[in-house]
């Protein structure tokens, strides 16, 4: 199973480090990262494998969102299937 993590907010130092650190802590394996900075605005999309998560996926969603609150970012973690089902036949 794979999840998409999207991170948006004002750019600052160490965003990727913080997010990937949290992923590693809970056992989410990062497969791909796409990132861009437009003016001061930071946007990142991460594709993660979540088969060996140490905690239930719903808790992982909360943990990532809490991290976002702490860092002034918006972090959404969504099951990959929602994107596949919406855009692929």
């Amino acid at each position: 199973m794979r999840a998409i993590i999207t991170v948006t907010g004002r750019d600052s130092m160490g965003i990727i480090a913080k997010v990937s650190g949290e992923c590693a802590q809970f056992g989410a394996n990062i497969i791909d990262i796409s990132q861009s900075v437009l003016k001061e605005y930071f946007a990142m999309i991460m594709l993660c494998e979540i088969d060996s998560l140490a905690i239930p996926f719903t808790e992982f969603v909360d943990k990532m969102s809490e991290l976002g609150h702490k860092c002034g970012l918006e972090i959404r973690t969504m099951h990959e299937e929602i994107f596949n089902s919406m855009h692929r036949i």
Partner: protein
């Protein structure tokens, strides 16, 4: 990448959501001669079968990042399983449904329903008598009555009775803006698998249980049309179809997932455009973006007809089973653009009636003056169900003759039920017509065999 951003934008900026996951539950095995035992049976069955509904809904919401606004239960029309219940017995049963809904933590429970399109059974008659008290003494129970069908014609005696029920409900819930009327709907050609309230029930031919899902997304369609600019209408129709496809695919995913987790078979996805009073979540604003100065202007019915058709065409390929009411809803108090158009006098009752001929579902959440005579209410209902019967479609009437309110006033129900100005009604009397009673025969095209 663009697909991911598009999905997230739909959810974040354009109010895309799953409007409801509704668990349909059969109550056939709850029948009992004893009213108290019957109530225990239905309470136990509902709370057992739908035990995981709210948790499942919340889990899916979190894992997929898609808001699921309502979790609901619909049950077999109570008049089919009530046996010899008196109207007092039916009030008890409504309270049992209410208790079950509160135990589960769901938003509404539907199925306090009678099917009387051709005539009354004793049981249906007792249930009808119980509706005003049952709905005014419970908070989560929704009730519906099917008074007509293309096959059976129009039961005018039933229309006379439901007109009185609406007035009684308005009076009994007068301290709360006559909110009882928001939980009561009158149907022609009611459908068995509708997940939307107030008209949801688990029809006579349905399975033991089923998961039905209603999607929403007027904001997404609105934004897509806005981005398209001044293109021809056939291009616009294509765009709406593509958008509806995406919305519905999400509904299908959620329905299948809920079905798997609750171990209840998947029923249908309702291809709906269901508005809310929030800005940016309005069907009326879609019509205006299509090129109307204001909803209700001449051209509104044509625009709505195209929108409704395109939503169905786009949605139907996205889901394995489509059902329910499927189409664009036009509940006045629940749609910010409709509210504005009604307040400005652009959207009249007559125009709304015309619009219901080409969309789902009917005259919905319309506040009328409290002094509207019963016969006039019955006349409005008769007109609306006639549209359904003759056009072989579902139509419905949910009117609120709000206590003490007159033209110029407005009523606020709060939450998703929204707010609305009192709309003008033609008060000329159809009383003699209504008092004739009897049945309007089924139209010729009911004879298809």
């Amino acid at each position: 990448m663009t697909e991911i951003l598009e999905t997230i934008n739909m959810i974040r900026e354009e109010n895309l959501d799953i409007r409801t996951i509704t668990a349909g539950i059969s109550l056939y095995d709850c029948v009992s001669e004893d009213a108290a035992r019957f109530c225990d049976n239905i309470y136990d069955k509902i709370t057992h079968v739908a035990e995981k509904l709210v948790k499942t809904g919340c889990d899916i919401e979190k894992e997929y990042g898609i808001p699921i606004i309502n979790k609901r239960v619909s049950v077999t029309p109570l008049s089919l399983v009530g046996g010899k219940l008196t109207s007092d017995g039916y009030v008890m049963a409504a309270k049992a449904l209410d208790r079950a809904a509160k135990t589960l933590g769901i938003n509404f429970i539907g199925g306090f329903t009678a099917l009387v399109q051709k005539g009354f059974t004793n049981s249906a008659s007792a249930l009808l008598d119980a509706i005003p008290q049952a709905l005014s003494e419970t908070s989560l129970v929704c009730s519906s009555v099917n008074v007509a069908s293309t096959k059976a014609g129009i039961n005018m005696d039933a229309i006379a009775r439901v007109g009185k029920i609406m007035r009684d409900l308005a009076y009994l819930t007068r301290d709360d803006n006559s909110i009882g009327c928001a939980k009561f709907v009158v149907f022609a050609n009611a459908v068995d698998d509708n997940p939307f309230m107030a008209g949801a029930f688990h029809g006579a031919g349905e399975a033991e249980a089923a998961i039905n899902v209603g999607v929403s997304g007027p904001g997404v369609v609105y934004s897509a049309i806005k981005r398209a600019g001044d293109c021809p209408l056939d291009e616009l129709a294509e765009l709406i179809k593509k958008t509806a496809f995406k919305i519905t695919r999400m509904g299908q995913l959620v329905a299948c997932e809920a079905s798997r987790r609750m171990n209840i078979p998947f029923g249908i996805v309702d291809l709906s455009l269901a508005p809310t009073p929030a800005v940016g979540d309005s069907v009326a604003r879609i019509l205006e973006e299509m090129g109307l100065e204001m909803c209700g202007a001449h051209g509104t019915t044509a625009a709505l007809a195209m929108l409704n058709d395109a939503v169905k065409k786009g949605g139907v390929m996205a889901s394995s089973h489509v059902g329910g009411l499927s189409g664009a809803f036009i509940p006045v108090s629940e749609d910010e653009g409709m509210i504005a158009a009604a307040a400005a006098g652009s959207l009249t009752l007559e125009k709304l009636e015309a619009m219901t001929a080409v969309c789902s579902v009917g005259l919905d959440m319309i506040v009328i003056p409290y002094d509207t005579p019963e016969a006039v209410i019955c006349g409005i209902i008769a007109d609306e169900v006639a549209i359904g019967v003759v056009n072989t479609k579902t139509t419905a009437v949910r009117l609120i003759p709000a206590y003490g309110k007159k033209i110029g006033d407005s009523v606020n129900f709060g939450g998703l039920l929204g707010y609305a100005p009192v709309i003008d009604v033609n008060m000329r009397s159809p009383e003699r017509f209504i008092k004739r009673g009897g049945r309007i025969p089924a139209p010729l095209h009911s004879l298809k065999n």
